[in-house]
């Protein structure tokens, strides 16, 4: 279970270059990862409370009279903490580290480093205060963009200050021929300002007439996952997986097609949430077409990365990073297959608005996106600290509890949604009965959410001991 024996730098780079990159980025990247993990813990904790509230609406009964414990206020906080606190921040951490490492260029200069660190502090302040504002009743009410304007503007500005240098690294890289991972990094880091800026401008900063807001919300949700977070997750897979396995990319020429395919389709995928809704008919059709066509780039990515006939390096077996990266790819296949299925009008008529949509969301945001970021985290931290920092037992526990919790959650959400969806299309079944059908699955979802909370706590503990230099949990 070796986590640190594979250094993602090109063969023609010497290790002193990698060390220079690591020492220049140590503080920013660890700061980002550390904050990301603590938001992950809080987000999964709130998600567990929300899951319990689905079976006991007034849980916890002592606090049910308080506004800040209402489902409607906690639900957007949990999602936003996951998206902006954990996923975006982990993607930024991984993104700037991979960009610098693959280019072989450190972040030079005290001013640059200080700017990045100040921006990270502001990012986290915006996430914290924005969430508290939602708790206090100042949500904008726009899904995924609930933070008040001052918080979203801070996130936007902080992102530019953190990511700008990483984008420039592409042109100052030492490798002549750009790696696939490097394209994905540039695309992902460029798309956040574009997507988040447009959506906030038109939906919260200076809202358009509401009749036009639906498709823009849909464009934002799809783009946020497929153009910002997924490309960084794919960059980590493309950068790490072949190196850990010690094999070459298969059909690299096809990777270009997959890259442009994902960028082209990513903006349209979100429309799936409006099939049959108050939008022009061609948009409903575009939702189905794009979801089906997304299977092609996903197929190519999997062929690129899984279709190897070469024998793996012996030490790749049991590598935790590899395990996370592979599970990310499996979840990506799930996103493609389930997303395409659910976008067919006939299927959508039954399953849309049920927890099947939530299952697809979890498959993308926890599976295809967070799993590769976990893999990157496990490779990156020992590199930055210059020693095998992880406690292997805790790491293995984190891996297995995450995998079991995640796949169970997706399964229960899917089955629960299937049952309620089939009942919903039959008007004879009253709405209250439909809800009762979902009850057993809601109970099971609590179990899965508990596992995910335990997993994130283990990760938090392990990261803490890694940073504290094994003082807290002495090695036996």
């Amino acid at each position: 279970m070796n986590l640190s024996s594979h250094i993602p730098c090109d063969d023609d780079h010497d290790t002193s270059e990698s060390r220079a990159v690591d020492s220049s980025l140590r503080l920013p990247v660890l700061l980002l990862f550390g904050n990301a993990v603590h938001w992950l813990i809080i987000a999964t904790l709130i998600s567990l409370v929300l899951a319990v509230k689905m079976i006991a609406p007034d849980f916890p009964s002592l606090l049910s009279g308080l506004s800040c414990f209402s489902y409607g206020r906690l639900a957007p906080i949990a999602r936003d903490l996951f998206l902006y606190g954990w996923a975006s921040q982990a993607a930024l951490a991984g993104g700037i580290w991979l960009a610098a490492r693959l280019a072989g260029r450190p972040l030079v200069g005290v001013i640059k480093t200080s700017v990045v660190i100040v921006a990270i502090v502001f990012w986290n302040l915006a996430v914290l205060l924005g969430s508290l504002a939602i708790l206090a009743g100042y949500s904008t009410g726009v899904e995924w963009l609930e933070y008040p304007n001052w918080a979203s503007a801070t996130l936007f500005a902080s992102f530019l200050l953190i990511a700008f240098w990483a984008i420039l690294h592409f042109d100052y890289r030492r490798n002549e021929r750009a790696e696939v991972a490097q394209w994905y990094l540039v695309a992902g880091l460029c798309s956040f300002p574009w997507v988040y800026g447009t959506a906030n401008l038109l939906l919260t900063w200076k809202p358009l007439q509401a009749s036009a807001q639906g498709p823009i919300q849909a464009w934002f949700t799809g783009s946020f996952l497929l153009l910002w977070l997924l490309p960084v997750a794919l960059a980590s897979i493309y950068a790490l997986l072949p190196r850990i396995r010690g094999v070459h990319l298969h059909h690299r020429n096809l990777a270009t097609l997959a890259f442009w395919g994902i960028l082209f389709l990513g903006g349209w995928i979100g429309l799936g949430r409006l099939i049959g809704g108050p939008i022009p008919a061609w948009m409903s059709a575009a939702a189905t077409v794009s979801a089906v066509f997304l299977l092609i780039p996903i197929f190519i990515v999997c062929t690129n990365l899984l279709g190897s006939s070469e024998t793996e390096r012996e030490e790749a077996k049991g590598n935790l990073s590899l395990g996370f990266l592979l599970n990310g790819l499996y979840a990506l296949i799930g996103v493609g297959a389930l997303g395409a299925l659910a976008s067919l009008p006939l299927v959508s008529s039954a399953l849309h608005f049920t927890s099947v949509s939530e299952a697809i969301y979890q498959l993308s945001v926890f599976g295809a996106i967070s799993m590769p970021l976990f893999g990157l985290l496990y490779t990156c931290v020992p590199e930055l600290l210059g020693r095998a920092a992880w406690c292997k037992t805790l790491a293995a526990w984190h891996f297995w509890v995450t995998i079991v919790g995640f796949w169970l959650l997706v399964l229960f959400l899917f089955l629960g949604g299937l049952v309620t969806g089939l009942a919903l299309i039959d008007p004879v079944v009253t709405f209250r009965n439909v809800g009762s059908f979902a009850y057993p699955f809601s109970v099971l979802e609590c179990v899965a959410q508990t596992l995910l909370l335990i997993a994130s706590l283990i990760l938090g503990g392990n990261l803490l001991q890694a940073l504290a230099g094994n003082y807290l949990f002495p090695k036996r």
């Binding site: 509230k53 689905m54 609406p57 007034d58 308080l66 209402s70 409607g72 206020r73 957007p76 949500s139 904008t140 009410g141 899904e143 609930e146 592409f170 042109d171 750009a178 394209w183 540039v186 695309a187 460029c190 798309s191 574009w194 038109l202 809202p207 358009l208 007439q209 509401a210 009749s211 036009a212 807001q213 639906g214 498709p215 849909a218 464009w219 153009l227 270009t256 960028l263 349209w268 429309l271 409006l274 099939i275 049959g276 809704g277 108050p278 409903s284 575009a286 008529s349 608005f353 049920t354 927890s355 949509s357 939530e358 919903l424 299309i425 008007p427 009253t430 709405f431 209250r432 809800g435």
Partner: protein, 215 residues
């Protein structure tokens, strides 16, 4: 694709396609829809919200009602289930959202669709009771109670006109009454005005209402 400007221009062009298709198209086409004249009342459709309902939209947003409730009746070309469930007389169209500050379309139906809740439940007292103790008017409801939108106070002299008529475990102790706070009044005013039941040129209400709308 080995130089940044080339890669960036490619990325920009590809992003631009979906941006034009969904963002620019929506902003310029659907964002410029106008109300239509209503021959019957001499006003315009969709009707204006009153001031209380406009304030109620803010409550709807800040309480996160959208987490469990949609506001859209889907097109009959995709499904007629929404309409046969009694959630609307006709599918929702973009023009229906003209007067809203935010389109609360939603993505999850843990609770029923609310696009026409104002024509399904026309009684304000029902809504107050439902918000205070959902199960008192909708048995088995999974909705949490919104006690904090109400005030429980000692009855001074006679009981207030707007006090909730509560029975059973939800009832306040003797000598006390439960009255809605301003947020609850605004929210209910908003819910009562949620109705896509008027005809529009692009969406005629030909279908007659079903006998008993299911909750």
């Amino acid at each position: 694709m080995h130089r940044l400007p080339t890669l960036l221009s490619g990325i920009f062009l590809v992003f631009l396609i979906s941006w034009i298709g969904l963002v620019a198209y929506s902003a310029t086409q659907m964002g410029r829809l106008t109300p239509v004249a209503d021959a019957d009342s001499g006003g315009s459709l969709p009707p204006h919200y009153n001031g209380q309902a406009i304030a109620g939209q803010r409550v709807y947003a800040s309480e996160g009602c959208i987490a469990c409730h949609t506001q859209q009746v889907r097109q009959s070309s995709v499904t007629s289930a929404d309409m046969s469930r009694g959630w609307g007389l006709r599918p929702s169209v973009p023009r229906d959202y003209l007067r809203d500050s935010t389109a609360f379309l939603g993505n999850s139906r843990v609770g029923p669709d609310l696009a026409n809740i104002g024509s399904r439940q026309t009684n304000a007292a029902w809504h107050y009771n439902h918000l205070y103790t959902p199960s008192s008017v909708a048995v088995g409801s999974e909705m949490p109670s919104y006690h904090y939108l109400f005030e429980m106070r000692k009855i001074q002299g006679e009981q207030s006109n707007d006090a909730l008529h509560l029975i059973g475990t939800a009832a306040p102790p003797a000598g006390y009454e439960v009255v809605p706070k301003a947020d609850a009044r605004n929210l209910v005013a908003y819910l009562l005005s949620l109705r896509h039941d008027y005809p529009l040129p692009e969406a005629d209400t030909v279908k007659k209402p079903s006998a008993t709308p299911s909750q």
